[in-house]
C-alpha cells in the first residue's frame, strides 16, 4: 500500500511571475505582470522587489485600471544597483510587489468640467498613460519632455493633437527644446488641473512657471521620481 502525499506549496501572494517584457528603447522597457488579484487606481505606484534581493524600488503603474495586466516602465541606469537587475529579468521570473500606494490620482468629480495638463519628463509619463487609458473621456494635454524622439514611449496611444513631445537632443518632437521652454509660452484655461511627474528639477521649474502664470498651488499636483 502506498500513501500519496500531496505537498502544499504556498507561494506568497506578493510574488508575481513576469508575464512579458516590452523593450521600448535600448535602455527602457516595460514589465508586465499578471493583474489578476491586484487592484489599483490610475496614478498610483507600487514597490517592486526582485526575489532573493534585499532592495526594492517604487514605480508608477504604467497600465490602465482596466488592462488585464499590471505594467511598470523602467529605464535602466547602467551604473545603478537595481535597474540593471530588473533588465535581466525574463518571463517567468518572480518579482515581489507591494502596494498600491499614493494619492497622485485624478479627482473623478473634476473630469466633467476641468481640463487636465500632464507634464512629464522621461519615464515620468507612466502615471499619465495609466490615467489616459483609464479615463477615455478626459480632456487632457500631455507635455512630455525627453532627449530623443524614440523616448516617446507608446506615443501612438495618445491623440496627436493632445500630445506635445518636447525633444532637447533632436528635432523629432513637436517642440525642439526642454518642456519648460514650451511651458513658458503656453497658455492654459483657468479651470486646468496640472499633474507633474518626473525628476525634481523639472518639477521645481515647471511649478515656478505655473505659479508665475497665476495658477494656485492646489491646482498643481506633483509626483517626484527619485
Amino acid at each position: 500500500m502506498s500513501i500519496e502525499l500531496q505537498q502544499e506549496i504556498k507561494i506568497d501572494e506578493s510574488f508575481y511571475k513576469v508575464k512579458e517584457i516590452r523593450q521600448l528603447t535600448d535602455e527602457t522597457f516595460s514589465l508586465r505582470l499578471p493583474k489578476s488579484r491586484f487592484n489599483y487606481r490610475a496614478g498610483q505606484h507600487i514597490s517592486l522587489g526582485i526575489r532573493g534581493d534585499y532592495q526594492s524600488r517604487e514605480y508608477s503603474i504604467y497600465s490602465g485600471e482596466n488592462d488585464d495586466h499590471l505594467e511598470v516602465l523602467v529605464k535602466e541606469v547602467k551604473k545603478g544597483y537595481f535597474t540593471p537587475k530588473l533588465s535581466k529579468l525574463k518571463p517567468g521570473d518572480l518579482v515581489e510587489v507591494s502596494g498600491p500606494f499614493g494619492k497622485f490620482r485624478i479627482d473623478e468629480k473634476k473630469i466633467a468640467d476641468h481640463k487636465f495638463v500632464f507634464i512629464a519628463s522621461g519615464t515620468g509619463i507612466a502615471p499619465f498613460r495609466s490615467m489616459v487609458r483609464t479615463y477615455p473621456q478626459l480632456d487632457y494635454q500631455l507635455i512630455h519632455g525627453v532627449r530623443y524622439g524614440n523616448e516617446a514611449y507608446d506615443r501612438h496611444e495618445y491623440e496627436q493633437e493632445r500630445h506635445i513631445l518636447c525633444t532637447s537632443g533632436d528635432k523629432t518632437g513637436k517642440v525642439h527644446g526642454r518642456l519648460t521652454t514650451y511651458l513658458k509660452k503656453a497658455s492654459f484655461d483657468n479651470n486646468t488641473q496640472f499633474y507633474l511627474c518626473g525628476n525634481s528639477n523639472m518639477i521645481f521649474d515647471a511649478l515656478e512657471i505655473l505659479k508665475d502664470k497665476g495658477f494656485e498651488r492646489d491646482q498643481i499636483h506633483c509626483e517626484v521620481y527619485f
Binding site: S56, E58, F101, S200, L207, E216, D218, F226
Partner: protein, 450 residues
C-alpha cells in the same frame, strides 16, 4: 529566568517593548537591567539612523562573546531593513517581526530544534503586516502607572525620501477601532492620565480599510464621547500625523471634547516648497498653512509642535531661510530639529549628502534661536495664570516635582510632592524660561487630602 531588553528609537518601539515584556513575563521570565545576569537578551532595533543599527552590531558581538561563558539566547525585532536582517540572522539566535510576537514563546522553546517551521522558505523582502493584529491582542506591560501609549496603526505608505520605515514596518494597517477604544477605557479605569495614540501616520487611520473602518476623526470623537461619560480627567494625544491626511474635521473634534489634549504635533520637516517635493512629503506649504490656520481658529489655546530636518539634500541657503520664515509664521511651541543624515534603505541614501556638517549645525542653532523667541513668549503669557499639570517626574538638581501641562510644556514645581505623582493638579505659573516654566502648587481640598 531573567531577560534583558534594549529598546532603541521611537515611541512606537517603546510601545512594542511593553508587549514584548508582557509576553516574556507570561513565560516566567523576570526583567533585569543587568544584562550579565540575564539568559535571554533582546533588542528592538531602529533603522531610522545608522547609529542605532551600529549599536545593534556592537551589542550582538558583545553578547556572542559572552556565550563562551554562559548559555544565552539572543533575539532581535523592531525596525530592521532586509539587508541588515540577512546579516544579523547569522549573529542573533532569533529574528522576528513584531507581528510575529505571539509566536515568540514557541520560538524560544523550540530554539535549536529542527522542525517544519524552521525549514520554511525565506520571507519576502518587504515586511507584511497581515498578522499585526496578533501583536495588538497582546496585553502590554505598561512601563508607567499614569502615561501610556496605545498603538492604533502600524506601517507607512508615504515613502518620504529621507525615511526607511515603509521598508522596515511595511504598509499601513489600522487596528480595529473597538480594540483601541477598549484599551483606552481600560487605561482610564486604571487611572492613566496621559494616553498617546501611536502610529507612523495616525491620521491616515482607517484609510487602508476602504470604508470598513471609521476615520481618525471618528475614532477621536468616540474616545471624546467616552471621556464625557467617564467622569475622569485625562488627556489623549496622538503622534505622528501627516499633513497630507489632516482634515478640518479632526481639529473640530479635538476642539469639541475636553479629554482630547489641546496639543498638536504636526511634522513640517521643511518650510520650503522645493525641499518638500524632494522629500516626497506630498503636501504643500499652502496645505500646512491651512491646517495651522484651522488650529488657530478652532483651538486657539492649543500648543503646536513640529519636526524639522535641516541640511537635507537640495537645501541651500534660500531654501533654509524659508524654513526660518516658517518658524516666525507658525510660532511653534516645540520643534524637534534633526540634522539630516542619510538613512540606509531610504531613497535619499542614494543621493550625495551635500550640506556640510558645520552648515547643518549652524542651521540647527539658528532655528533653535528662532524657536526660543516664541516658546518664551508663550510661556511668559502664562505667568500668573493657573494651569492643570500632570505631575510626572522629579527635577534632578532640586528634587522638586515636575510635570507637563496639557500642552506638554514642562513646569518645575516649588516642592517635593511624590504623593502627587501621576495626578493632575492646579499649578500657578510664577516664572517662564525658554522651554519650561516654574509654578507653585495651588492647594485645593482634594490635593490637601490626597
Amino acid at each position: 529566568m531573567k531577560y534583558h531588553l534594549i529598546t532603541l528609537g521611537c515611541q512606537m518601539n517603546l510601545s512594542d517593548s511593553e508587549r514584548v515584556a508582557a509576553v516574556l513575563e507570561q513565560m516566567g521570565y523576570v526583567r533585569t537591567e543587568n544584562e550579565e545576569e540575564a539568559t535571554l537578551l533582546g533588542m528592538l532595533a531602529c533603522s531610522v539612523r545608522q547609529k542605532p543599527i551600529d549599536k545593534v552590531y556592537n551589542k550582538i558581538a558583545q553578547w556572542n562573546r559572552a556565550k563562551d561563558k554562559r548559555n544565552l539566547i539572543t533575539f532581535l525585532s523592531g525596525c530592521v531593513l532586509a539587508a541588515d536582517r540577512e546579516k544579523l540572522l547569522k549573529q542573533f539566535d532569533l529574528i522576528f517581526q513584531m507581528s510575529e510576537l505571539a509566536q515568540l514563546p514557541d520560538m524560544i522553546r523550540n530554539y535549536g530544534v529542527v522542525n517544519a517551521a524552521s525549514l520554511q522558505a525565506p520571507k519576502p523582502v518587504m515586511p507584511k503586516n497581515e498578522h499585526i493584529a496578533d501583536l495588538w491582542h497582546i496585553k502590554p506591560k505598561y512601563q508607567s502607572t499614569h502615561e501610556a501609549f496605545v498603538p492604533i496603526q502600524n506601517g507607512c505608505d508615504k515613502f518620504c525620501t529621507f525615511c526607511a520605515v515603509p521598508y522596515t514596518r511595511g504598509r499601513e494597517v489600522s487596528r480595529p477601532s473597538e480594540d483601541i477604544i477598549q484599551e483606552v477605557r481600560h487605561l482610564v479605569i486604571q487611572g492613566y492620565k496621559s494616553i498617546t495614540l501611536l502610529g507612523q501616520n495616525v491620521n491616515s487611520y482607517g484609510l487602508d480599510k476602504n470604508g470598513q473602518e471609521i476615520t481618525f476623526a471618528e475614532l477621536l470623537r468616540r474616545i471624546g464621547e467616552y471621556g464625557q461619560t467617564s467622569g475622569e480627567e485625562f488627556w489623549v494625544y496622538f503622534t505622528s500625523p501627516h499633513p497630507q491626511d489632516m482634515t478640518r474635521e479632526v481639529i473640530e473634534v479635538i476642539a469639541e471634547y475636553p479629554c482630547l489634549a489641546k496639543q498638536i504635533h504636526l511634522p513640517m520637516q521643511s518650510g520650503d516648497e522645493k525641499v518638500l517635493i524632494k522629500m516626497n512629503r506630498r503636501h504643500s506649504m499652502d496645505k500646512y498653512r491651512r491646517i495651522v490656520a484651522d488650529i488657530c481658529e478652532l483651538i486657539p489655546q492649543a500648543t503646536l509642535f513640529t519636526d524639522i530636518i535641516v541640511g537635507f539634500t537640495g537645501e541651500g541657503e534660500s531654501e533654509f531661510e524659508n524654513t526660518v520664515a516658517a518658524f516666525h509664521e507658525f510660532n511653534f511651541n516645540m520643534a524637534y530639529i534633526a540634522m539630516y543624515s542619510p538613512r540606509p534603505g531610504a531613497a535619499s541614501y542614494r543621493w550625495q549628502d551635500e550640506v556640510s556638517q558645520d552648515v547643518k549645525k549652524g542651521r540647527l542653532h539658528k532655528l533653535s534661536e528662532a524657536m526660543k523667541i516664541y516658546t518664551r513668549k508663550y510661556n511668559e503669557s502664562l505667568v500668573g495664570k493657573t494651569v492643570r499639570l500632570l505631575v510626572n517626574g522629579t527635577d534632578r538638581k532640586t528634587g522638586f516635582s515636575t510635570g507637563l501641562t496639557e500642552g506638554k510644556i514642562t513646569v518645575r514645581m516649588d516642592r517635593k510632592a511624590p504623593e502627587l505623582m501621576g495626578k493632575i493638579v492646579d499649578v500657578k505659573i510664577t516664572s517662564a524660561a525658554d522651554f519650561s516654566m516654574s509654578g507653585e502648587l495651588v492647594l485645593q481640598e482634594e490635593t490637601v487630602n490626597s
